[in-house]
Amino acid sequence: MHYTLCDCVMDLIQNSIEAGSSHIQLNMNQSADSLEVSIRDDGCGMTDDELKRATDPFYTDGIKHKHRKVGLGLPFLIQTVTMTDGQFDIRSEKNKGTEIDIRFNLANIDTPPTGHIVSLLYQVLCFQGDYDLTAVRSLSKDGGELSYQVNRNEMLDVLGDLESAASLGLLRDFINSQEEDLLS
């Protein structure tokens, strides 16, 4: 399978943006054998029923296909995580927002590859729309923890826009330099 963990996270953030969130908090903490991801949004949220539908591939409301508007993304992610001894938790409240906590088990051979963190961060900052997003990326190693943070409004303020090739190039260089520093 070509899908990476970063692609999964990107899908989830896209959901948060589509849910009309004004602020999204993304935390990614990586250690030798796990990648913990948490996403908090203040978007439209889901009722218990909607949540059930979003996470269960076989849920049916009896009206075949007609009102089906849920893709397989979330059930597929949950299956991948649980099959590889990871953890997945989602809580949602209508009109309040959604919280997702995932622990990917990097030690399991069936866990998809992590993917490219810099591209992920770059991408989730550059969707069109009026949302703020804070991403905290951290790495635990040798008993210590290193991290950096990027905030969308701050980047908009510094760069002026997030759509001209000039700004996008600089944004990529910026995130790259943070990541290199973290890994060095």
Partner: protein
């Protein structure tokens, strides 16, 4: 690369703005849309964006607007790139990889010629050379 501070980033952006102002409005009205649906990404849309940014920098035309679109409904020809450039009909390119992306910059955006082999949609058949 050493860790960049926000101040450094701000300065770099200012410098670019001045550079662009001197070269006046070149490329300002060009809009490039990259399909970033699930299939686009699986097919390599990220490399395409990287190549576009890199090549635009090389040709010194960084005023171009780049947008990530979601699903364009064209899974079978992903990665897809739509280019809207003044004076040329809006064009959708399919099966774009990094190399084609560079061609799109040099040929389409800079020289105003279509990258014929990868045109997927829009311009009438008679202006595309087979």
């Amino acid at each position: 690369m050493s860790k960049m501070t926000l101040e450094e980033l701000r300065k770099l952006r200012e410098a670019k703005k001045q550079e662009a102002a001197q070269r006046d409005t070149e490329g300002k009205d060009t809009l490039v849309i990259v399909g970033m649906g699930t299939c686009g990404i699986a097919a390599g849309a990220k490399d395409v964006v990287d190549a576009l940014l890199d090549e635009l920098k090389k040709v010194g035309n960084e005023n171009v607007i780049i947008r990530q679109a979601g699903c364009m409904g064209l899974c079978h020809v992903e990665p897809t790139v739509e280019v809207r450039s003044p004076g040329i009909p809006n064009t959708i390119y399919g099966n774009v990889d990094a190399e084609v992306a560079r061609k799109i910059v040099r040929q389409h955006i800079v020289d105003g010629r279509l990258v014929n082999k990868h045109v997927y949609d829009k311009p009438a058949a008679d202006i595309i050379e087979q």
